[in-house]
Amino acid sequence: MDNMDYAKGYWNPYVAGIALGLVLTFTFYVMGTGLGASGAVARTAAVVAHSVSPEMIEKQPYFKGFYREGAPHPFVDWTVIEVIGVFVGGLISVLISRRFAVGVGRGPSAGVGLRLFMAFIGGIIAGVGTRFAMGCTSGQALSGGATMVVGSWVFMMAVFATAFAAAYFVRKEWS
């Protein structure tokens, strides 16, 4: 068992949760919708593909939704701007907490190569998942969960049930 020093120095999880809940409440109060994250990655995927082949992407059945006639650039979007804020906010916290450190988060006996390979594979799988679910932990589980949306609760239960079950098979990555 590792000593888990990396898990020290953070806020009490309930304090962090309540603070996050207040930000989410404010977001709903202002916008009528909640927080998001995966939408910004989807738009990035569209913009990168568009820079290679604009005509193909503007006709592509999924990506064409980001390139409608008269629509602004896909990055002129609430979630994209919010995610830029997430990056800057995270950076401020990391810097004032003196926690910035280049490294790879992995189990104490897992190799860097294995971990990076798994991060890439997991990223591909998670990317596909966010599109079917139309959101991720932020947009569906947290925001949809707080507003008691049926599909969001179905998503949340499926995410945790699968992750707890699959964890056994990838335990070498995290131990």
Binding site: P13, S93, R115, G122, T162
Partner: protein, 198 residues
């Protein structure tokens, strides 16, 4: 009266200006919760440290009760939320999407928002995860002929749990609150159990 965008109190442009400061607070709190590090995010699945459950459910319950409190105070029109701005539910795509996403979460070590904070923390694995996600979204987009119809299937419209179970909003919120408190107790017991500990 909120939601301000829907009652016409603010314009969409004003809303866009608020996206950055809201994101700033979101990212700051995610980092302070420890979510810039994939180990803190996956420890829940090994019953080592259930902080993901604690943060997530306390945030969910706070916002759920916060919106209900605002609506009782006459500051928030919950009907607008339910009728106009709530996310739509698609049962099967969201169930399947959740299963796929859960796999990606435990294998990849991040979810999208926390990976952004991971990048800000200097974590190489979070950058690789996000690059993987872009590839995953391309896989989804270019596989559209295979699953495009499924993606929009079982459309339930805007539907809440209390409508689905035929109860009231307040009772549903109370049930979720009790479930969350129960989950917090289970989290503590799970850490004591520690099935993966040596």
């Amino acid at each position: 009266m909120g939601p301000l965008l829907y009652t016409g109190a603010i314009s969409y442009e004003t809303g866009l200006w608020l996206a950055f400061p809201i994101g700033l607070m979101f990212g700051f709190i995610l980092e302070k919760a420890g979510f810039g590090d994939s180990r803190n995010l996956t420890n829940i699945f090994y019953f080592r440290d259930m902080r993901v459950l604690r943060v997530m459910f306390s945030a969910l319950v706070t916002a759920m009760l916060g919106l209900i409190a605002l609506s009782y105070a006459g500051l928030f029109d919950y009907n607008i939320l339910v009728e106009d701005s709530l996310m739509k539910s698609y049962f099967w795509p969201q169930l399947v999407g959740g299963v796929i996403f859960g796999l990606g979460f435990v294998i990849g070590g991040y979810c999208p928002g926390t990976a952004i904070v991971g990048v800000a923390s200097g974590k190489i694995d979070s950058i690789v995860f996000l690059i993987g996600m872009v590839f995953g979204i391309w896989v989804f987009a270019f596989g559209w002929p295979i699953w495009g119809n499924f993606y929009m299937s079982s459309d339930l419209g805007r539907i809440t749990l209390w409508q689905f179970f035929g109860t009231s909003k307040d009772l549903m919120a109370l049930i979720i609150l009790v479930m969350a408190l129960f989950a917090f107790v289970l989290a503590r017991l799970g850490e004591k159990w520690g099935p993966y500990n040596e």
